[in-house]
């Protein structure tokens, strides 16, 4: 018994960062749930929370890769706004079909990322400078494209990128029955089933990884801790999906987001290219001498960032149903903050997709909760700034303590 509690303590100490992040998110959610008198977890608000944060999360995926590779991208907010403007102009002014506009916009994002990546990777101009320039350039270009006006509205087929929900596949009677059972007005069975499936996947993958660790004698997490963590995460997923089911179901962007998160987590953790990105950020010279094409990899990290910023721009414009010259303004700061709160290191080489996603949710829940409480934008900024500082301080403190 004593050795077991000691094991749990030691493990917690060694993985302070991961657990700290999870606890912080839960604590923040509980806190706002209480102080907002239950508004935070109302189905409509949860739906909103996802919609509001989807574009930050989408960009955080790309930003994590850029930061892991040892760089930074300050231009993503402007690029996002610019692509939204481009979509608006193409669709509204030039009557271009949505199916053509979307690929054009994504290609434009890739080209923008590529242009910036070219200077960073092949000319070795610090990314801070290149993307600072990009931030100004694309902010200006959005204004120019939109001629300073808001452009909208979009056709339905474009709006559903953000505001659509997944259709119900199960018989209507099932939904009605469950709605009665849970005392809700309606119930989207598919969303709930997807939630259950996601939770089951989390448990299954956790068990698989755990077994692999044990097979190789890596000191694995104590069983109690593993189950506590896994069950909390899966319960949270089921709970959120249940809430969504009693409103309009699963928003399309949540599906897009979920798929992207899984892809990027897979790519960064399990593939050759992901491994190379960590090597590049960890020690560029050593990576290069190991045969890694560091320039091309850096270039690709920026191309990828550009595509995701473009996607975020489409999602954002679709949600607001209009493109405004101010769209994306200073959003890069939220994205970068999310990645650092999520545990990535400024010097590159470390950080995880899931960390960045949780970091983005922490920022998102705080934004949302504070807005519900009616806290002024002035205080909101101060508080968010302090949270970022606290998170990074916590990191550095832990590192120093481990020696």
């Amino acid at each position: 018994m004593d050795t077991q509690t000691k094991g749990i303590k030691a493990h917690l100490a060694a993985h302070m960062r991961d657990f700290g992040l999870l606890f912080a998110l839960i604590a923040i959610m509980v806190f706002f749930q209480i102080v907002t008198g239950g508004t935070l977890m109302r189905p409509v608000n949860i739906t909103n929370l996802f919609l509001q944060n989807s574009y930050v999360i989408i960009m955080a995926l790309g930003m994590l890769i850029v930061i892991v590779s040892g760089h930074i991208d300050l231009s993503v907010g402007s690029v996002m706004g610019f692509v939204g403007a481009l979509a608006a102009v193409l669709i509204v002014h030039y009557n271009m079909p949505v199916a053509v506009t979307v690929p054009i916009c994504l290609i434009a994002g890739a080209a923008i990322g590529g242009a910036q990546g070219y200077f960073v990777a092949y000319w070795r101009i610090p990314s801070f400078i290149v993307t600072l320039a990009g931030m100004l350039v694309f902010r200006g270009l959005s204004l120019w494209l939109l001629e300073g006006q808001s452009v909208g509205p979009f056709p339905k087929s474009f709006q559903i990128i953000s505001t659509g929900f997944v259709p119900e596949l199960f018989p209507a009677s099932w939904g009605e029955g469950l709605a009665m059972l849970f005392d809700a007005r309606k119930f989207n069975v598919l969303s709930f089933v997807l939630g259950l499936a996601a939770a089951a996947t989390v448990i299954r993958m956790g068990l698989k990884a755990r077994k692999r660790d044990m097979d190789y004698g890596i000191e694995s997490e104590p069983a109690g801790l593993f189950w506590a963590r896994t069950l909390i995460v899966s319960a949270a997923i089921v709970f959120l999906m249940f809430k969504l089911s009693t409103f309009r179901g699963l928003p399309n962007v949540v599906v897009t987001m979920g798929v992207l998160i899984m892809i990027y987590a897979f790519v960064t953790e399990r593939t050759v290219i992901g491994r190379r990105i960590y090597a590049l950020g960890g020690n560029e010279k050593a990576a290069k001498l190991s045969g890694i094409k560091t320039e091309r990899l850096t270039f690709l990290a920026f191309v990828n960032m550009g595509v995701l910023a473009a996607l975020a721009g489409l999602v954002f414009a679709a949600r607001l149903n209009t493109a405004t010259p101010k769209a994306g303004f200073s959003l890069e700061l939220d994205v970068i903050a999310a990645v650092f709160i999520g545990g990535a290191s400024m010097s590159g080489g470390s950080g995880k997709i899931i960390g960045a996603v949780v970091g983005a949710f922490i920022m998102g829940v705080m934004n949302n909760g504070m807005s519900i409480m009616g806290i002024g934008i002035d205080y909101q900024q101060v508080i968010k700034g302090l949270v970022l500082l606290a998170a990074v301080f916590f990191d550095v403190y832990n590192k120093n303590k481990q020696g």
Partner: protein
């Protein structure tokens, strides 16, 4: 007064020092007693705990983070950090040099200790004092010379000058000569003897046992985190005695037996010219031609700065220099080595001389580093196979006897010698045709050296070619089938194993 120069008094005593890292007991009740005015050597295999012991002593690991007691000048010492120990006159020069390359000698010496009045540095005084210190350590350089432009040997002397600028009572040198050539090493050791005559007590950690015999009065041997013996070196101590205590058994031969067999031509390099990457008018490599046959170990001898590393790196994917001309033929066919990945594919591997900044990703695990240069081998369709990776890393851990609790340890936490084994594993894992080794045994203990030589022999028995660059003449002579002598960017001679000896090599270099 009683302490200085009095051989009989104990200056430092470390009692029952135990230090644990997560999963590793680095020190287990180690005892060390250093007498005032002596030179005390600490010997032990890689990972035995030598550097850790010195870090405990100097406060890098503060009091409370270890068990046991430190008594210095007769009083219990509980250092909270380097500053504390420095205030008491204990100065450590770490295994990795800590000078700021972009600053001058004087600036480095007075860094954090500036001769300032009201925050304004008096450069005149700083330079004056630096000159005096440089004279003391026998370094003929101006105080305003940038560290960047100095070789490792001179940097080492600057470190010592820096130590002397503080009021030093106990000077600790952690492998000071690992990166030095014999001449420079000798200078440094003589300086230590001189300081000893002036009453400075020193502790030296070294894997070069000849040097230990040359300077040390007493030797403490550490094995697996335990102090196993304290030997009196004044009465004439043999290297074999030290080795026996280090490895726990007798070790009769330093070089494994080698059967020479030069097969068909493996690699041929012709007309190789390289210019300096920044000063494009400076030619660094001048019209070099050489070859390696299957099963051959080819040594490259030369002084530091003769261009050996530059030659190797320029061949390996043009990683150094510009305007490179010349041809590389492998198996008689011209090979494309214009990029590192192509060079690897063609069958080359290059073990860098500087493992920390060029060889390893210190924040990552042993497994990560081992598979890095051959990720294709542990993946399918671009997806990594974690099991395969672990197997590969475990395989090399066993084959090279890397000392670590598991392959999931961060490489940065390994001892210097074990880090070198990981670099070696990384390149062996690419199954190269020609393996270029640049100072492969720097900072490696005798036992591990033997293992590395055995691996080299095994590769050559398989018909692979090995090119070995080394500043350790005995190693070069002991291992090579053929030696090229290099000086100022050009080859000045070629000697067969039978012809080669230290004098001939040196005379080829000097006569040029």
């Amino acid at each position: 007064m009683a302490l200085k120069g009095d051989i009989m008094t104990i200056l430092l005593e470390m009692r029952d020092i135990t230090k644990e890292f997560p999963g590793v007991k680095a020190l287990d009740q180690v005892n060390l007693a250093v007498k005032g005015g002596e030179i005390h050597a600490i010997c032990g295999e890689n990972g035995a705990g030598k550097s850790t012991l010195m870090k405990v002593l100097s406060g890098v690991y503060p009091a409370g983070s270890y068990d046991g007691e430190i008594h210095f000048e007769g009083a219990l010492a509980q250092f909270q950090g380097i500053r504390d120990s420095e205030d008491r006159g204990i100065i450590i020069i770490h295994q990795e040099l800590a000078l700021v390359p972009q600053l001058s000698i004087a600036e480095n010496i007075f860094l954090g200790n500036e001769t300032a009045k009201a925050g304004v540095i008096n450069w005149y005084e700083a330079n004056q004092r630096t000159s005096a210190l440089l004279k003391k350590v026998g370094l003929k350089e101006s105080p305003t010379t940038l560290i960047d432009s100095l070789g490792v040997g001179k940097q080492q002397l600057v470190e010592i000058a820096k130590a002397l600028s503080k009021d030093v009572k106990l000077l600790i040198l952690d492998e000071p000569t690992a990166a030095l050539q014999e001449g420079d090493s000798r200078k440094l050791l003589d300086l230590m003897l001189e300081l000893k005559a002036q009453g400075v007590t020193s502790i030296i950690i070294s894997h070069k046992l000849g040097e230990v015999r040359y300077v040390a009065d007493t030797v403490t041997v550490i094995r697996d985190g335990r102090s196993v013996s304290t030997l009196d070196a004044k009465a004439g101590l043999s290297e074999d005695q030290i080795v026996r205590d280090m490895v726990g058994r007798d070790m009769s031969d330093r070089y494994p037996a080698r059967t020479r067999r030069a097969g068909e031509m493996l690699m041929e390099i012709n007309g190789w010219n390289v210019w300096h990457p920044e000063h494009s008018e400076r030619q660094v490599i001048k019209d070099i031609a050489f070859n390696v046959r299957a099963g051959e170990v080819v040594g490259i001898a030369g002084l530091m700065g003769s261009g050996r590393t530059e030659l190797a790196m320029s061949i390996f994917g043009r990683s150094y220099g510009r305007g490179i001309t010349g041809t590389v033929k492998l198996h008689g066919k011209e090979a494309d080595v214009s990029r590192v990945d192509r060079a690897i594919k063609a069958g080359l591997a290059y073990v860098t001389e500087d493992r920390k900044s060029l060889g390893l990703i210190l924040d990552e695990t042993i497994r990560f580093n081992t598979t890095l240069a051959n990720l294709e081998g542990v993946s399918k369709g671009g997806v990594l196979n974690a099991n395969a990776e672990t197997k590969v890393a475990e395989g090399y851990r066993e084959a090279l006897r890397t000392r670590t609790p598991s392959v999931f340890q961060k490489v940065g936490n390994l001892s210097g010698g074990n880090q070198q084994k990981v670099v070696l594993a990384k390149w062996l894992n690419t199954s190269p045709e020609v393996l270029i080794l640049d100072e492969p045994t720097r900072g490696i203990d005798v036992g591990a050296k033997y293992e590395i030589y055995a691996i080299i022999n095994e590769l050559s028995a398989q018909g692979k070619g090995v090119v070995m660059i080394s500043s350790e003449m005995p190693e070069l002579l002991g291992m090579s089938d053929r030696i090229y002598v290099m000086n100022e960017g050009a080859f000045v001679g070629e000697l067969s194993a039978e012809e080669a000896n230290q004098e001939r090599i040196m005379s080829l270099i000097v006569n040029e």
